[in-house]
Symmetry: C2
Subunit: 78 residues, 2 copies
């Protein structure tokens, strides 16, 4: 059974690089990856913050949050 | 054919979490992941810096460097 992984981004160049490399590199046998653009899906900012996301791009995997490089602070998306 | 991916760390708690989650989550069909402990393999610090690693944990994937959260600066390992 695959686990849900969520990759939060905001369309920035740093986000796109992390999406294309890291998010797409995850094992599809283990993870069902959802890509969420917080600039377009503002309503999901609160959910991301609850998961511990402070900046994008970030990957939430097995309940742990991993900030990958730095694109933008969450405050810049509100 | 699988591509080489290198995960650099220094044994810190942040490093271990990133290794267990992100490094081990990569698709084994696509990536051959090498785990390098820079505290134990000091001789590879220069190689990591050439790849653009500024802090650990970091993942070098397809020539791009991704810093995952923040454990320690490279300078702290020298």
């Amino acid at each position: 059974m695959s686990t849900k992984a969520i990759f939060y981004h905001a369309g920035c160049p740093v986000c796109v690089a992390a999406e294309q490399n890291v998010a797409h590199a995850l094992d599809p046998a283990k993870y069902d990856v959802e890509i969420v653009h917080l600039g377009e899906s503002n309503s999901r900012i609160q959910e991301a913050e609850r998961a511990g996301v402070k900046s994008v791009p970030a990957l939430v995997l097995d309940g742990a949050t991993f900030h990958i490089n730095f694109g933008a602070d969450m405050d810049a998306l509100k």
